[in-house]
């Protein structure tokens, strides 16, 4: 069936801010789909509230709206742009829900717009629990015994008939949000209450627990003619019970025979056919490990995280094909872009093994519960490819960048056998390490299998790795042993450590002397049956090297940013991709190295060559030996790439852009002090320390409060404000739990306005696209602050000073490319907080709102062009005549037990943008984009620390004027009442009911303002409970007075109508 020519203009819905359960994979899918649509001559109008995405670039779509993903704003965009179709299947659950709401309300019909890629009926059949169950029953596909409930009592009654444990799955939520396994009535009531609240339709499925079965997934595609294929199947190493996003996953399945494989494949095709999906779909199964019995767990009638993984694992571009199908093409008409010979109807065949490991945020949220359940907690993931499972697992582990590099990385050696046996029951991210420890001690694999239910095949593979550890430890390193260790992907330095007598360099030399070097194989979708045209490589030891030698153009190595984590998100992928495109336009051959399957950078057609590899020195060195690049850029890949700078130089690779010594001068405290002295720029006084004693000494010299932080980190990891000696000791202890290569910084904490700039410097001139001002004062990490462009409250004089300081610093550091600087403005003086001579989190945001493509410019500067030559006037660019506000978005509700109060350590997972002609409207949009949909009940709770009480009066008065009823705990209530606010006094937790907790749990509160007591050291248990319960009951919780004022402001100015702004028309120069 050829293309449907009545489709001329399509509105593509993105997925909004990055949150746990909905991350970069949708930028990848959306970007690929938009390009695929444009390639077909279709006009693409895009809406996504997330400015950090590549899909919101004007090169990707014809019109780009960075607007809140709400029905209201989508309606206005549709009225303005008049698309004939809406494609909702590429924006994750958010996009699908919106598409459905627009359709159900009759709005689409009224405006003569249709949904493509799916229908409302399809979405309903797959997403509505009861309809889904009925549909599965109709076609004879088994589902676990279940009942949809809308209240707790029905859930309890039903469970009494099927027995505990039961799984609870709220309808229409992300990443299993609000779900879980209940083993008794108490747990059932707790999870059910939470789940009902989080569900858009107050609906939860109570289901027979099939925890422990094998979890197998299929990615299937179907076209309008009914042709269906499977792209990939995957097996979770963690059996059913752990969300697939939190499981270690292997592709293809390993422990099932063709009978089981085909049984489930046929089932998946039956399901996609019955649901009438046109595009991609993901079906998850639980398979009884002792029979052919299976259950359909769930179906995602859209592109998903798993489909991003399946695309990268196979080379099959699911989103691209889904977009073509939405236009009417059939699978046999769509060419497979990898082979150029086969068609999209050819099922991919793998001749390698793929392992995905989730990146969990427990290093950020040390108080959060580490247990893995059906509610997803991972912020990102890594993928690796090898021709054996052991090697793929080893590569994936060292791709994590969580101080893990082998199965020895979590040390359980101090446990007694008894304790270890007990700990094997724990289902968390360290399970494979415990199994490895068990194997080291000779625990029987069968017994460990009985406890963990992880298939013996996987346990045996871990055993093979453990046996190799032991051999390397006990035996002399022969060439054969080395060859086998490398086949299993043991890094040189681990081999050396285990050996104890050799150094990593000795091992490397021994390898080279014996020709034990990495060979590169291609991901080609077809197990070598056809020659492939796109160089997408992975390494193996032992085999023919297929990588094609190229020497015709200058070559640049672009180092990616690895897994998405809090502090290093999708922004850096944006930068890497744009840099790659810019190098390409300048005639370079581009080579990307990255290990993140969710990203655009690892799409097969972004760079000339893609190496899907860990970003460690050894892995990168192997690529360098293969490619011999003319240079490498590290300034776009976040800390992951920056960390490799020194090693790349030692490999003889030229670092393009700002020199490594200058990067050091910005990071190293003492060198940086020299820079500041030379440029005569003030900063908060401070010192460098290694021990707690030294830290206390510096702190007392400076006077409390002080800021304590490690150097060379992103996202303020480990950064804290200390108010006394005791806290300094505590924070130093936490920081030093991980061995520090660099000193720890202790600075005087200045509370002022925080200002941020990104600039491009060509060595002579600088260009500052805009100055951003934070709503929250210093002390809250810049990534967690609301950021406003143009800076609204600072004077021209200060702006000039910032421009001047930026220029001085950029020149002094000989910056070639990007520089990011954070300033404090206090008492009309400007202080530098920190300087990062590299790309930053705000780069995509500022590029978009100013229309100045700074990554592109920075890349050209690195190549040797000057700003003037490119037509840019140096200095601070003229300010825009609209306001853009970046709002951080958090995922606290997914992380039980995580502390939500904001501080110097970043906690947000994503961001959204509000852009409008006025500050008020922009702020309103920013809150709306972040999902703050107020007012509802016009009731709020305030409980603030003493220092905030004077300010709280102003805030309270504003909310009171908005008609809010204000509840406050004792001292706050007293203070407010004394200052003319009609606040209602409410009992503290633990006092008699009704107390503050009862209020929160009654679901009638819009917002809680809880500013934690000075210093987290004496963090009151009450405050923590109030904040956690607010988050878990879906109440918006604010922990800084500045944020509270901003919210009041937004509520005061809710506009009748918002103005959609097409970012693609923004041009500032």
């Amino acid at each position: 069936m050829p293309k449907d020519n009545s489709i001329k203009k399509v509105l593509v819905i993105g997925s909004g801010p990055i949150v746990i359960g909905q991350a970069a994979e949708f930028d990848y899918a959306g970007t690929q789909a938009c390009r695929s649509l444009k390639e077909e001559g279709v006009e693409v109008c895009l809406v996504n509230s997330n400015p950090a995405t590549i899909m919101t670039d004007k090169e990707i779509a014809d019109q780009v709206y960075i607007e809140p993903l709400t029905v209201k704003s989508l309606q206005q965009i549709i009225i303005k742009e008049k698309p004939d179709s809406v494609l909702p299947t590429l924006g994750g659950q958010a996009g699908l829900n919106l598409g459905m709401e627009l359709d159900e309300s009759g709005f689409l019909k009224e405006h003569n717009v249709r949904l493509i890629g799916t229908t409302a009926l399809t979405i309903k059949k797959a997403e509505d629990r009861q309809e889904f169950k009925d549909t599965m029953e109709k076609i004879g596909e088994p589902v676990a015994a279940s009942l949809v409930v809308h209240d707790i009592e029905s859930g309890v009654r039903f469970t009494n008939t099927i027995g505990y444990p039961v799984v609870l799955r709220p309808a229409y939520t992300l990443g299993g949000s609000g779900g879980g396994i209940a083993h008794n009535e108490e747990e059932l009531r707790e999870i059910l209450e939470n789940g009902l609240r989080l569900s858009r339709v107050h609906e939860v499925l109570v289901e027979r627990c099939i925890a422990g079965w094998k979890e197998i997934e299929y990615e299937v595609m179907r076209d309008a003619k009914g042709n269906c294929i499977t792209v990939c199947n995957m097996e979770n190493i963690d059996p059913v019970g752990v969300h697939t996003g939190d499981s270690i996953v292997v592709a293809p399945s390993q422990t099932i025979g063709d009978k089981e494989y085909q049984m489930l494949r046929t089932s998946a095709l039956n399901i996609i056919s019955e649901l009438g999906i046109t595009g991609g779909c993901n079906v998850q199964y639980a398979l009884n490990p002792d029979s052919f019995e299976y259950c359909v767990i769930e179906v995602n009638p859209r592109v998903s995280r798993s489909s991003a993984l399946a695309s990268k694992a196979t080379g099959y571009p699911i989103a691209k094909v889904a977009a073509k199908i939405a236009l009417g093409y059939t699978l046999d008409e769509i060419k497979n872009a990898i082979t150029g010979k086969t068609y999209a109807s050819f099922e991919p065949m793998l001749d390698y093994c793929v392992v995905k490991i989730p990146r969990l945020p427990f290093d950020k949220f040390i108080t959060a519960k580490r247990t893995l359940t059906t509610q997803m907690k991972a912020t990102g993931e890594v993928m690796s490819i090898c021709h054996n499972f052991e090697g793929a697992l080893m590569k994936a582990i060292r791709s994590m960048e969580q101080h893990v590099d082998s199965l020895l990385s979590y040390d359980f050696s101090d446990l007694t056998d008894q304790q270890l046996w007990e700990e094997l029951e724990i289902v968390d991210d360290r399970r494979i390490y415990r199994i490895a420890e068990g194997l080291r001690r000779g625990f029987a694999p069968e017994q460990m299998h009985a406890i963990t239910l992880i298939d013996l095949w996987f346990i045996d593979k871990i055993a093979i790795l453990v046996e190799m550890e032991q051999q390397l430890r006990e035996e002399e390193l022969t060439v054969d042993l080395l060859r086998e260790a490398k086949r299993l992907e043991f890094p040189d330095y681990i081999i050396a450590n285990l050996n104890g007598k050799l150094s990593a360099d000795d091992v490397k030399k021994m390898r080279y002397d014996n020709d034990i070097v990495a060979a590169y194989k291609m991901v080609d979708t077809c197990a070598a049956e056809f020659a492939a045209e796109t160089p997408y490589y992975y390494s193996v030891y032992g085999g023919e090297n297929e990588a094609v030698q190229t020497n015709d153009r200058k070559k640049v190595l672009v180092l990616g940013s690895g897994p998405i984590r809090i502090g290093q998100g999708i922004e850096f992928d944006y930068c890497s991709v744009h840099a790659t495109w810019a190098f390409s336009k300048e005639g370079y051959e581009t080579i990307i190295v990255n290990n993140n399957p969710e990203t655009v950078s690892t799409d097969f057609d972004i760079a000339d060559k893609l190496y899907f590899e860990p970003l460690t020195t050894e892995d990168v060195e192997n690529i360098v030996r293969q490619e011999k690049p003319d240079g490498a850029v590290v300034q776009f890949g976040g800390q992951t790439a920056i960390k490799l700078t020194q090693d790349l130089m030692e490999m003889g690779v030229e670092i393009l852009g700002t020199a490594a010594e200058d990067v050091d001068r910005a990071e190293d405290r003492e060198l940086f002090d020299e820079v500041l002295e030379k440029t005569q720029i003030p900063r908060a006084a401070g010192g460098t320390v290694f021990t707690a004693e030294e830290a206390k000494e510096v702190a007392n010299r400076l006077g409390y409060p002080v800021l304590v932080r490690p150097s060379y980190v992103l996202g303020g990891q480990g950064m804290q404000i200390a108010f006394n000696d005791e806290e300094v000791e505590k924070f130093m202890d936490i920081i030093n739990q991980i061995a520090q290569d660099h000193p720890i910084l202790v600075d005087k904490y200045l509370q002022g306005k925080e200002i941020e700039v990104d600039a491009v410097c060509d060595g002579t001139d600088i260009l500052i696209p805009g100055i951003m001002e934070h709503i929250e004062r210093t002390g809250i990490h810049s990534g967690d602050s609301i950021s406003v462009y143009p800076a609204p409250t600072i004077s021209q004089e200060i702006k000039a000073k910032i421009e001047d300081y930026t220029a001085r610093l950029a020149r002094e550091l000989h910056v070639k490319g990007l520089i990011n600087i954070q300033f404090i403005v206090m008492d009309n003086e400007v202080y530098v907080i920190e300087v990062n001579p590299r790309s930053s989190r705000t780069v995509p945001y500022i590029s978009k709102v100013t229309g100045i493509p700074i990554v592109d410019l920075a890349t050209k500067v690195i190549i040797g062009h000057s700003l003037k030559e490119m037509g840019y006037q140096p200095g601070l660019a003229p300010e825009a005549d609209y306001v853009a506000i970046k709002m951080p978005v958090f995922s606290f509700e997914k992380l039980r037990g995580a502390e939500i109060s904001l501080g110097p350590e970043m906690k947000s997972t994503g961001e959204c943008l509000g852009i409008a002609p006025t500050f008020n409207e922009a702020l309103y949009k920013a809150f709306a984009g972040a999902g703050v949909d107020l007012p509802k009940y016009k009731q709020m709770i305030m409980t603030v620390k003493d220092a905030d009480k004077p300010e709280a009066v102003g805030v309270a008065k504003r909310f009171a004027a908005l008609g809010y009823k204000i509840y406050a705990t004792r001292s706050t209530a007293k203070y407010l009442q004394e200052h003319g606010v009609d606040a209602l006094w409410v009992n503290k937790i633990g006092q008699e009911s009704p107390n503050v907790m009862d209020l929160i749990l009654a679901h009638k509160i819009d917002v809680v303002i809880d500013t934690p007591t000075e210093g987290h050291g004496d963090k009151s248990r009450d405050g923590f409970l109030i904040r956690r319960n607010s988050i878990e009951t879906g109440v918006y919780c604010i922990t800084a007075m500045d944020t509270a004022n901003a919210l009041a402001h937004a509520l005061e100015s809710e506009p009748e109508k918002v103005t959609p702004i097409d970012i693609a028309t923004v041009k500032n120069m």
């Binding site: 793998l350 070598a528 049956e529």
Partner: protein, 356 residues
């Protein structure tokens, strides 16, 4: 023990010996299925061939009841890695033991992808698997080059008739090296199936008074089956509904004056899209064939193409004009591979019922 795979072009792969320790020369082919190694090992169509599995991890779930015939007919087995332990609730033993028990020699630990690339670029060729390290290849290369698969149908067909009782239509299945699931697919649909050895005469089959005839898959060059082709021609003339798969499809074509030729490296795997030309629908099929029917000069009075391979456009099925006969190149019986085209067995039954 070290083992060597010597290809007729002189390429030598060094690996480890698996299975029976004996030297063997055969044709070397590759299969891209990721599951179903046991079905591949026991598919009689691989007689005379050494099968290379492109999927590198083989034997993970051990040996189950999924054999497609009573023994393994492959000449040799070539893998990247055999699993140290098998793990599956149906597992009855390891693939290592199975290869020894079936006297199949093989080689593991070689770069099967590199081997596949050679076969893809240069075409299917002969090779030798041996544990002897030949210093001088010229000693063995002529022997390797001289190898011919020959008449393997005779080797793999059943020795005597076999009956699978059923309540439905009486089907005569001509066993040219049939996979078990062909008879089973018919039997499961109620057919009363009688399996006949390959060299049964047409008359004998017709005397049996079947309501339909099924020609199975099988190994080797179809043109080596001269005597069977002439019997197939007689079956063609009988007016009985006939359904043929793979070698059966090729023999029916040859019987009707069409030609076959050898593909450069064949289709072996479970992922090939074939298009039903009548409906335009595409199905993913299980395939295992080195030869294909030429349809360039196909006379529509004899037959018309019914299926075509989406990737390379080669013929995947024929419908015989004025006859109740249709034949396919791929494997609707799957095992291993997708079950998408299993509906063809229903179509055959409908034909016998006079519905088509």
């Amino acid at each position: 023990m070290k083992a060597f795979l010597i290809l007729e072009d002189g390429t030598v792969f060094t690996g480890v010996s698996i299975g029976a320790n004996r030297e063997v020369i055969s044709e070397v082919v590759f299969n891209t299925s990721m599951t179903g190694y046991l079905e591949v090992l026991t598919d009689p169509s691989y007689a005379g061939q050494a099968v290379t599995m492109t999927y590198p991890l083989i034997g993970n779930y051990g040996i189950t009841d999924d054999a497609e015939s009573d023994r393994s007919y492959v000449s040799a087995y070539i893998v990247r890695e055999l699993s140290r332990i098998p793990s599956n609730f149906r597992c009855k033993g390891s693939i290592q033991d199975f290869l020894i028990e079936q006297d199949i020699p093989g080689i593991a630990g070689i770069d099967t992808r590199a081997l596949t690339r050679i076969l893809r670029d240069k075409g299917t060729m002969n090779g030798m698997i041996t544990t002897t390290e030949y210093k001088d290849l010229s000693e063995v290369l002529p022997k390797i080059k001289a190898y011919q698969v020959g008449d393997v149908v005779t080797k793999v067909t059943c020795k005597e008739k076999k009956h699978l009782p059923g309540e439905g239509k009486r089907v005569a299945l001509l066993d040219l090296g049939a996979k078990r699931n062909i008879a089973k697919s018919l039997n499961d649909r109620g057919c009363d199936v009688t399996i006949f050895p390959a060299h049964t005469t047409a008359q004998e089959i017709l005397d049996f008074q079947p309501e339909g005839i099924m020609l199975s898959n099988g190994p080797g060059d179809p043109k080596d089956c001269g005597d069977i082709i002439s019997e197939v021609k007689k079956l063609y003339e009988s007016d009985l509904p006939i359904f043929a798969i793979c070698l059966g499809h090729q023999l029916m074509a040859l019987a009707n004056g069409l030609d076959t030729h050898k593909l450069k490296y064949g289709h072996r795997g479970g992922n090939h899209p074939v298009k039903d030309l009548e409906t335009g629908r595409v199905y993913i099929s299980s395939q295992n064939h080195g030869y294909v029917v030429d349809t360039d000069t196909l006379d529509p009075k004899v037959a018309t193409p019914a299926f075509v391979n989406v990737n390379d456009g080669t013929n995947e099925g024929l419908k015989y004009t004025g006859k109740n006969i249709f034949t396919v190149q791929f494997h609707p019986e799957a095992c291993p591979g997708p079950q998408d085209s299993g509906y063809l067995f229903d179509r055959f039954i409908n034909m016998m019922e006079g519905a088509e």
